[in-house]
């Protein structure tokens, strides 16, 4: 069969890879600027305290110190927040978590800034802190914010929960506990701000949505939005963590104060304590099933620790809640979710956005239920997976992409059989486990979910993509270049995506939620069609023939008599007349009325889903409790592969992050300190990952996607931890209900 695609689906070289392999790529910390000053943040040493006094005097006396700024010095809004403006840029009156910014110092050198930070006098009155979200939700807990600690309380019901449990032959109940996780991007948060003439400022960011930074900066500095120009540096990974302002407000404030250039870079320790993490959660989960395995009822109660400020907590809660039944049909459901403030560092967006937490509960419990009833783990899943046209408990009707579910299970079964046949290493116990996953795409109903992008056909024939959203490193630029090249029938080399700049790029919205290839891809296919129409209209005028007599194909205009004229000729003629061909298109995430229930809180429901399954084979040392994942397979439906190597890279990297969640990562608190370095917080290394690894990529076209594509950014890490937990149970009979699966937990020494 010949591939009908020219560019889409191929493994091509990323255009940014040459600069990245030769050290030329400029990340925000690398951008050279004249007369650059250093910013440094003095942070709270307390989890919770009242600020009694801040004495700047001694700091200001240090030679080379240019400014010592507190909340009082911020000319505009002193608080910000992506959903709820509850987060002070610099603490005011009270600090609510260790590491909270209190004072911003600007100095000529790092040394002077450090000295000024050492000399700053802040008097605190420590207050009793609360860390456990269940405790914090009680009325007698210290109340961290005016309206209490519970920000969001979701309660969603479907069917008749009491009847559902009456119909059950088996009922299981457990509590699953999920740790605090660092997104783990290699590039720490950083920003560079340069004050300009006429009350303008230019700020470089490492951000998933520079337009949000622009708004925050303008509000904080009390400037018109158009006076703030935000540009994207090369981004060293984000994984959700850079949806929050990554020092952009601080750098801008510093530059404004000294009317100069200021860069701030968080150390990794600052990044740990002062920037949002994946939400720790406690999920109490009760599932009922009939003796044939059919699920009858689900009741769940969730407490999410969102830390000192809301960040994206309420939005993460939506997806965590909506995915509490995983990919299964459960007729009677009652789920409650409480998002709670605590004195922990903030929790916010991270790859998966709630699904990794919910799936650890669902997929562990489904295996427990299979064992309880005495049926095969794949068989119980097969009996309960949602089918096309069926409703999730939120009322969302699944489209034909649900056809991926039975295929995922078939593949998983084959692989499990294969992995079970592998010989066990001496002294070890082997086990094989699997998990299924559903990950939503999009921001959710009733929130603005539009994405605008522009094309420009330059006189030299090159097509420039004015991409309205940043590439975080995952390869968005390559994907949209491939899609645009395909739509215009041009070689990949002739299409180039430009980095984000709020001055003249359209707003493509935030790069997140497994949807930017989908959103930008759709917008750019439409923009390509418009561009061709515009080209033909101009060509008709030049050739003095009706436009309908002309056809565009692969960089050429074909006349009625078959003569082929290269497009560059027309572009050149237009350039002489100062005409540049451009087109712009907005794609709005579809929330079809007939399949989108309207009775849920704002931002809910999510209506389009990605599906996948993963299989793990582990070897456990029964004496030491150590777990080695020896074999791993990831099966994912992507709708249509846009970039083969890009999709593989997303899956492989996602699985690695999922294995970190399963086995190693947790940001513990030991009395007065949080784990805040890679010495104690263990990211998986090349030695920790399975040596036998396979990706199985399915292509079940998504009708609304560009060439049938849907998202792959998040789901590869969603089923990983429960697949490993199920394999460990299979190997040694221990059900670990709290991540990470450490040797102590496998041996039953803790929890």
């Amino acid at each position: 069969m010949t591939d009908r695609f020219l560019t889409v689906g191929k493994s091509l070289h990323r255009k940014d890879a040459w600069d990245k392999t030769s050290g030329k790529a400029l990340y925000t910390a690398d951008i050279p600027v004249e007369n650059l000053r250093v910013g440094m943040i003095v942070r709270s040493p307390h989890h919770y305290a009242r600020i009694l006094d801040i004495d700047k005097k001694r700091s200001l006396e240090i030679p080379g110190v240019l400014a010592v700024l507190t909340s009082d010095d911020i000319p505009g809004d002193k608080v910000f927040g992506p959903l709820i403006p509850d987060q002070p840029s610099l603490a005011r009156d009270v600090v609510r978590h260790l590491g909270e910014p209190v004072v911003l110092i600007i100095a000529e050198t790092k040394r002077a800034a450090q000295e000024a930070a050492n000399q700053i006098q802040v008097s605190y009155e420590p207050l009793g802190a609360v860390f456990d979200p269940v405790q914090a939700a009680q009325e007698d807990a210290p109340q961290l914010h005016q309206d209490g600690n519970v920000i969001t309380a979701l309660n969603i019901k479907d069917g008749d929960i009491e009847k559902g449990f009456q119909d059950a032959d088996h009922i299981l109940e457990d509590t699953y506990t999920l740790p605090r996780i660092h997104p783990g991007y290699m590039e720490p948060e950083t920003s560079l701000a340069v004050w300009g003439e006429d009350q303008t400022i230019t700020v470089w960011v490492s951000s998933q949505h520079p337009f949000t930074d622009q708004g925050f900066i303008a509000a904080a500095l009390d400037l018109p939005v158009e006076n703030v120009r935000v540009k994207s540096g090369v981004i060293g990974g984000a994984f959700g963590g850079k949806e929050d302002s990554s020092l952009s407000i601080m750098a801008a404030l510093g530059a404004w104060a000294i009317k100069g250039a200021v860069r701030l870079v968080n150390t990794r320790r600052e990044s740990f304590v002062a920037h949002p993490k994946r939400h720790p959660a406690q999920i109490h989960y009760k599932l009922g099933a009939m003796s044939d395995g059919t699920f009858t009822a689900l009741k769940a109660e969730v407490h999410m620790d969102t830390g000192a400020y809301a960040s994206y907590g309420p939005a993460v809660a939506a997806i965590l809640t909506e995915t509490l039944a995983g990919a299964y049909r459960i007729p009677n459901v009652q789920v409650e979710n409480f998002v709670v403030y605590t004195n922990s560092p903030l929790s916010g967006a991270m790859r998966g956005f709630g699904s990794p937490q919910s799936h650890f509960a669902v997929e562990s419990m489904v295996d427990s239920m299979a064992e309880e009833i005495g049926i095969d783990p794949v068989q119980i899943r097969r009996a309960n997976i949602l089918k096309v046209g069926e409703k999730m408990f939120t009322g969302v009707t699944l489209n034909e992409t649900a056809n991926a579910l039975p295929i995922c299970l078939d593949k998983a079964q084959e692989i499990m059989d294969r992995f079970r046949a592998v010989e066990v290493s001496p002294g070890k116990k082997a086990g094989v486990g699997m998990a299924l996953a559903a990950q939503s795409m999009g921001l959710g109903a009733n929130v603005p979910d539009d994405s605008t992008h522009r094309l420009e056909w330059a006189p030299d024939g090159k097509v420039l993509i004015h991409l309205g959203a940043p590439d975080l490193g995952q390869g968005l630029a390559m994907a949209v270049e491939q899609i645009t090249a395909e739509a215009l029938g041009l070689p990949y080399s002739q299409v180039e995506s430009l980095p984000l700049d709020t001055l003249d790029r359209p707003n493509g919205n935030v790069t997140c939620a497994s949807r930017m290839t989908y959103m930008a891809g759709n917008a750019l296919i439409d923009a390509s069609e418009k561009l061709i129409q515009d080209l033909l209209a101009h060509a008709a005028e030049i050739l003095e023939v009706p436009a309908k007599m002309l056809v565009y194909k692969e960089g050429q205009i074909i006349k009625e008599d078959g003569t082929k004229l290269p497009v560059v000729e027309f572009l050149g003629r237009l350039a002489e007349k100062s005409i540049t061909l451009t087109s712009e298109s907005t794609f709005s995430f579809p929330y079809p009325e007939e399949t989108t229930p309207q009775d849920l809180p704002i931002g809910m429901p999510h209506v389009l889903y990605c599906f996948g399954a993963q299989v793990a084979r582990v070897e456990v040392d029964p004496d030491l409790g150590t777990v080695e994942v020896t074999h791993f397979a990831a099966i994912h439906d992507v709708g249509k592969v846009i970039s083969q190597s890009g999709v593989e890279g997303q899956i492989e990297g996602g699985v690695a992050t999922g294995l970190g969640y399963a086995l190693y990562e947790t940001m513990l608190r030991k009395d007065d300190q949080w784990v805040d370095s890679f010495t104690e917080y263990l990211l998986p290394t090349s030695k920790d990952l399975p040596t036998h690894y396979e990706s199985i990529i399915l292509e079940i076209p998504e009708a609304s996607g560009p060439y049938g594509a849907k998202g792959i950014g998040e789901i590869p890490l969603v089923p990983t931890a429960p697949a490993v937990a199920n394999a460990v149970k299979n190997a040694v009979g221990v059900r670990v209900k709290k991540l990470p699966i450490t040797p102590e937990r496998v041996l039953g020494f803790i929890d």
Binding site: T21, Y185, E652, T679
Partner: protein
């Protein structure tokens, strides 16, 4: 202040600085070579600042400038020869081993040091060799593929 002289990417270099600064500080701040990155806060945990010193890979954040007198140092900026990309650079591009790229310079230099000492490493030896270079994007698979591609000479150089 101290002054040190060394060979940087094949050329003589000299830096005068406070003695408590690291090679990473000097490369990035004095010499404008920003290919070496800081991802762990200068604690020797991530490998993003890896350079080759006298043939051995080192975390440049762990080297004080007093230690570099008379040494030969190769950074990512010095890997190209006569305008040609090094086979490891080509292999990383070809294998799709580059995503965000922040760990890439360090990983490539680590791989170069590995291949210089062991021209045809096994999978296991590559995993061992790369284990000090953290990457959150790739899961390392494509980096390992890239190193094999380079050692097997599967590239047109």
């Amino acid at each position: 202040m101290i002054t040190v002289s060394f060979l940087l990417n094949g050329k003589k270099a000299s830096v005068t600085s406070l003695p408590n600064r690291t090679l990473l500080d000097v490369l990035r701040e004095n010499l404008g070579l920003t290919g070496a990155k800081d991802a762990c806060g200068g604690e020797g945990e991530c490998g993003a600042c890896t350079v080759i010193m006298n043939g051995n890979p080192v975390n440049s954040c762990m080297i004080f400038i007093g230690q570099i007198e008379g040494t030969q140092i190769t950074t990512i900026e010095g890997l190209m020869e006569k305008g040609e990309f090094h086979r490891l650079q080509k292999a990383f591009v070809e294998a799709g081993a580059v995503q965000c790229g922040f760990c890439t310079p360090g990983a490539i230099l680590m791989a170069k040091a590995l291949l210089d000492n062991n021209p045809h490493p096994t999978d296991h030896e590559i995993r061992e060799g790369l284990s000090g270079n953290l990457c959150r994007c790739t899961g390392y698979n494509k980096m390992i593929d890239a190193i094999h591609l380079a050692e097997q000479g599967g590239l047109d150089d």
